[in-house]
Every structure is written in C-alpha cells, then in structure tokens.
Symmetry: C2
Subunit: 215 residues, 2 copies
C-alpha cells in the first residue's frame, strides 16, 4: 500500500511538471514529439531523415535521452538540428523533470519543432508523460510481429506509430496482419506510417504529417 | 541520500535471494543461464534452437519473464522444454525473488539446464543478479553497431555474448569492427558466438558451449 502511494505521488508530481513543459512549448509556439522505441529500432535515423528533409522549412530542435554517450545528439547535430543530450545516468526513461531542465537551457523561440528522443526501452518510458504534444512509437520489422502483444502498455498509450525497416520485409519472418491485429486491439485506428529510414521509402506521408502538425 | 540507501537495501536483499537460488540450482545439479536482450533480438528463437538441438542430450527447463502474455513460454514448450511463464505485471526486469518463486514450483531434479528468459530490455535487467551461473546477452545485427557504447552497463556485466541475425549483415549497415571494439573496451575477451537463429549458421559452437557447461 505504502509503495503504491509513493509511486502515485511520483507520477502525479511528474504530471504537474509535464503540464508546465507543455505550457512552455505552447507559449513559444513549438510542436513537440516524444519519440519512443526499443534499442536500434531507428529513433536517431528517423530524426536524421526528418531533419534532412524538413530543415529548409522548419527550425528543428532535438533533445536526446540516453543512459550514456552523446552519440545520438551528435548525429542529430550533424544532420542540421539544434541538439542537446540528456544523460540519465542509468535511468531507463526520461521524465518530465529531466525534460524541464533541458527546456530551460533551450532557445524555444528559435525552433518550430522539438523532437525528444527517449531512452531505448519499450517499457518504462510509457509511464512518464513529458508534456509533448504527441507520443510516437517506432516499431521495427526485424523485432518481429508479436511486439504489440508483449508490450501492450506502450502500444496502448501512443498517438502515432512508425513501422521502420520495411526494406527488411523480404529477409525476415514478419506477419504484418498479426502485427496490425495486435495494434488494432490496443489502440484502434492508430495513425501508422510504414517506412524505411535507410531507403527513404514511405517517408513522404510522415514528413507531411510533421509539417501539417507544425503549422 | 535516503533514496540511495533504499536502493542499496533492495539490491542487497536481491543478492541474498540470488545466493539462495544458486544454492537450490547447485543442489539439484542444474546449470542455469540468465538470457537478456532488447525486444526482438531473438531470446525465444535462441531458446527454440537450443531446445530443438539439445533435447535428446539434455533435459531443459525454461522460465520466461514478460510483462504480459505467455507467448514465449508456449514457444519454448512447443520446442520441447518444460516451461513456465512469469508475468512481471509491468516490471521491466526479473529479480531474484520472482525467480525464487518460480523455482519453488519447478521440478529442478528433472532438468539439467535451466534457461531464464529475462524481460526484453537492455537497461534494468543488468542491475538484478538472479543466481544463475552465467548471464548471456544477445545483440542483434539490425540493432546497429553502436549498442555497446550506448548500453555499457549490460555489456560490462555479462559472461557471454551472442550476436544474432548475422544472416542480415548484407542488408543493413553494421560495422562489426566498431561493435567489437566497444565490447572489448567494456568486457575484454568476452566469449562471443556470432550466429543466426533463422538459418542455424554458427549455432554449433553455442550448442557445444552449453553442452560442456552442463557436464
């Protein structure tokens, strides 16, 4: 009982800071995404492609959450984004307080779009609202078609789904119908973008959605 | 300070139960593995292949940790193992207490090898000893070659590394030298098995290692 109360207290404190983050973003006219996925599903690659194709139309900021290194922030910066790294020091997710500290040293008035790259993990990030406008989950073809059934929490909670690495469909067993049936049970009508960050196939509808969301 | 003390207390309680688990396994002459990986790297596929090839020589038990469903335990059972599912109810890792409860209802005298499939996650499982004899990490080629650098904790702590999905090397960018350099920094001389669970390429040395560890 005590443990449950402590957890509820932490989550409600997180929600309060998440609301403050949202207010800061709205005041600056910034549209923000919380990008979640398991390790290696393509979060940084999707950011690279998004920045590469949209930086002539949108001013883009990236905040990268990782337990170690600044490799992802460096990749985002190389692609042309204003980027910043949050090292969680071992924590398996970002929370609203970590994002709040990062936002405080970010020039929000100089960007239109903020992409927050969460820590690579399909479990813990789902429990912490950050205050972003949309949460996006990236599934990856080589992970297999059973992931919605096995990680229902994160599939249930997101606003948008990207299915990355569709170029690998000929080389791995992946039953798209079984995958989509699982998604539909958990999150009916979920907005979904199948694409490949490597070949750029299917990227256009994703870019259009981002652009329209920012206007 | 208080938070650190609580965390230390939890971890030392976990270690005590882990030691009890080890004593139970040793008393029954069971060799046990803690299998860890990110979602979709191939934990269940490696179990299926191991059971398929070794069940004529070894009696194999499997305990599957997942946040939801019993899909993995069903796959292990279909392959011919005595299997049991632990649903963590949302928790992002197994701990020694969860394994202890499972071991209590497992006929340890009827098996030679126990494979514990941890929850799909590269972060949290690394912090909780279970009492198994060896911890095995599965890396997967499509996850990318930067994973040792980004998830150093788990690479530092394991006894054995499996590099799965080597059949996908022609189709994805993966710099094996960069990957192995990262592993070598964190865990010099780490025993490594590159293989493909799908094509069975490279499986033989892994099976030999398992068989010799059980004898």
């Amino acid at each position: 009982m005590t443990q449950i109360q402590v957890v509820e207290k932490i989550l409600s404190a997180n929600d309060r800071i998440a609301d403050e983050n949202r207010a800061m973003l709205d005041a600056a006219g910034v549209f923000a995404l919380n990008l979640m996925a398991s390790p290696g599903a393509g979060k940084t690659s999707l950011i690279e492609q998004t920045v590469k194709h949209l930086s002539n139309r949108l001013r883009i900021g990236v905040i990268d959450g990782d337990i170690a290194t600044s490799l992802d922030a460096e990749r985002a910066a190389a692609a042309g984004a204003v980027s910043m790294q949050i090292n969680t020091g071992g924590d398996c997710h970002l929370d609203a307080v970590m994002l709040h500290s990062a936002l405080a040293s970010f020039s929000l008035n100089d960007i239109d779009l903020l992409i927050v790259e969460n820590v690579g993990n399909l479990i813990c990030p789902a429990n912490f609202r950050l205050g972003t406008h949309k949460s996006v989950l990236i599934a990856s073809i080589p992970e297999g078609d059973d992931k919605p059934y096995k990680y229902p929490g994160i599939y249930r909670g997101v606003d948008t789904l990207v299915i990355n690495k569709i170029d690998l469909l000929p080389y791995v067993p992946f039953d798209m119908e079984n995958f989509q049936r699982g998604v539909e049970i958990l999150n009916p009508g979920l907005l979904t973008f199948p694409l490949s960050c490597r070949t750029a196939e299917g990227l256009e509808p994703w870019l259009t959605w981002i652009t329209e969301s920012c206007s």
